[in-house]
Amino acid sequence: MTAVPAVSAGRRPMGGQQVAVALLLPIALINVVGFMLPIFNLARYSFNRATVGGGIENVLTLQNWTGLLGDPFYLQLILNSVFVSLGVTLCALILSYPIALYLHRASGSWRTFLTVLVISPLLTSAVVRTYGWIAILAEEGPVVSAIRGMGLTPPPLMFNINGVFIGLTEILMPYMILALLAGFGRLDPRVEEAARTLGATPWQSFRRVILPLTAPGIALGCLLCFVLAVSSFITPKLMGGGRVFLLATEIYDQAIVTLNWPLASTLSILVLVIFGAALVAYSAVLKRLD
């Protein structure tokens, strides 16, 4: 209330701001050099022309964009990518939600142990885990044998969309669980108990209290998994056996195999547009939840 705090309050933001700028400068530089510039380059390439042999002709043309948006193959590819990613996200959500809820309620060393268990898959690379899934789902693998053992005909699990689905779902689950947990902050066990004492059955209390209170976590987890699913290419590439075509695998093929960089750039920018749309949807959901 006196002049003393006013003086220090006047000085602090100045010093604080300088420190903040100094601290943010390195990451800002890295972002500009490592992220903004490449994106800018991609955008530029997408308006250049590809030449035979992998060259880029520096002319301004809409050819990549018109060709891409007019080609049913690519439209199908975009839809495929979006729907597979949405499906994988939904599966990961359904499988992760109970785990996250259980983890949220667990306590002490049991909780620590389970959390480590959830995180541990992230310590191995997606390549290794994908090969693991190939071994499990392959023609002579344990899953197929088990289904045969029950006297049923197993569906084709490997080197098609089923395999991609299963593999991606499992690989994205740790991210989903962690995102859900991060968003469960508002879920107080007392509030659930209050619902139960007011006559809510466990299902009603889930529908009316737990689900709405965990919705921010669900939104966050879905955004994260969707983005990761759209951009993942190792798992679709390996588990799809060359028969599953998604945006990320196509970008890889165009950039590395066909050496058509302008087309790869155009597809990449398209992926960025999809991410933008996902972000817009996410913030709309968050706004509605509040």
Binding site: R190, V191, L198
Partner: protein, 372 residues
């Protein structure tokens, strides 16, 4: 002083004499290896408000949660209106609970919070709206019906929690320290409000608190708990005037402790002097408890008042606290406190001088030594 006033109010109201409504028989709760409630039995009459009073960690909340069905008792039986509910799921128990943290639904408005229990009972929308309106008017929050809980003050949240629990007209209302987060003024108001709402609706209520004034002023009967068992169960007047144990005496109101002996002929002696007490006395070493404000003080030179117990001592200090004077007096090896109302012309003797402490035989509380 608070305590005395509260008791006068209580005596004027009288206690409901209905049949037993909520009955706990030999209920026990063990967490892992920790025996929190060894065995607890008590019954609450219909329309009665009973306080669970005791120090932190004595098992008040645990007992309340067992009644609500949020905890499964390890042993024993709980019944309401003669019906065994020990294993009835929470949502079928028809109890209203007010949590210490209020536990309002943060994603719902005040009106939606209050409507929740009615919706669970599948009541018609029109009826729900009417009842919610009435309940909010009752706690004077009608104007905040559209707010979210986080935009309310602590006292307002507390009233929403109360309205939410009462609106469903539960058979039993459970309150877990509902006033502990409020400031003194609001707490006083809410005490009166909760009590009058409870009496108007004739609802059976259990009120958990560790505040003795709250228990004495609001409740028909008090369960004094300690270490998971019932130390004493009685009306506020009984608890205060005839505490069953020294623990109850010192937990409810303040008290002085003196050591004495009861000789084989049944005479009570303190510092070798005979002291009168009412009732049967336990033989051997005893603890004698007397409330500070039931004692009076005068100079040793004055004639000790006839018909009263009196002990000689030395005045060691006096504190003036407005309407009271608190004097400390050394008697033998011990020290006691005497409280006297101040009068305009009553000077205390000088500190260090010899004094006589006096009290009525009926105010002497005697317990066998070592029964903490």
């Amino acid at each position: 002083m608070m305590v005395e006033r509260a008791m006068a109010a209580e005596a004027a109201l009288g206690t409901p004499e209905g049949p037993d409504h909520l009955v706990l028989s030999e209920v026990g709760m063990t967490f892992g290896t920790l025996d929190v409630i060894p065995s607890l039995s008590l019954s609450v009459r219909r329309g009665e408000m009973v306080a669970f009073l005791g120090p932190s960690g004595c098992g008040k909340t645990t007992t309340l949660r067992m009644i609500a069905g949020l905890l499964d008792p390890t042993r024993g039986r709980i019944s309401v209106g003669g019906r065994d509910i020990t294993h009835l799921p929470v949502h079928d128990r028809d109890m209203g609970m007010v949590f210490q943290s209020y536990a309002l639904f943060p994603h719902m408005t005040v009106a939606q919070n209050v409507a929740f229990g009615l919706e669970m009972r599948r009541m018609a929308k029109v009826e729900i709206r009417a009842r919610v309106e009435r309940a909010l008017a009752m706690v004077q929050l009608g104007h905040l019906a559209g707010r979210k809980p986080k935009a309310l003050s602590g006292g307002q949240q507390q009233r929403v929690a109360l309205a939410r629990a009462l609106v469903v007209e539960p058979s039993i209302l459970l309150l877990d320290e509902p006033l502990s987060n409020l400031d003194a003024k609001l707490r006083d108001e809410m005490r009166v409000q909760i009590r009058s709402l409870q009496q108007q609706s004739g609802i059976t209520a259990v009120f958990v608190t560790h505040d003795q004034v709250e228990a004495l002023s609001m409740c028909d009967r008090i369960v004094v708990m300690r270490g998971g068992h019932v130390e004493q169960y009685g009306t506020p007047n009984e608890i205060y005037e005839r505490p069953a144990t020294p623990f109850v005496a010192s937990f409810v109101g303040r008290t002085n402790r003196l050591s004495g002996r009861v000789d084989p002929s049944g005479r009570l002696l303190i510092e070798g002097r005979p002291v009168a007490a009412e009732g049967r006395l336990p033989e051997g070493a005893v603890e004698v408890l007397v409330r500070p404000h039931r004692m009076s003080l005068r100079a040793a030179s004055e004639e000790p008042p006839a018909g009263l117990n009196s002990l000689p001592g030395v005045l060691t200090g006096a504190t003036f606290v407005g309407d009271l004077i608190q004097a400390t007096v050394r008697i033998g090896a011990g020290e006691i406190t005497v409280e006297q109302l101040t009068r305009r012309r009553s000077g205390l003797p000088e500190p260090g001088s010899a004094v006589t402490v006096a009290w009525e035989a009926g105010d002497t509380m005697v317990y066998p030594e070592g029964r903490a």
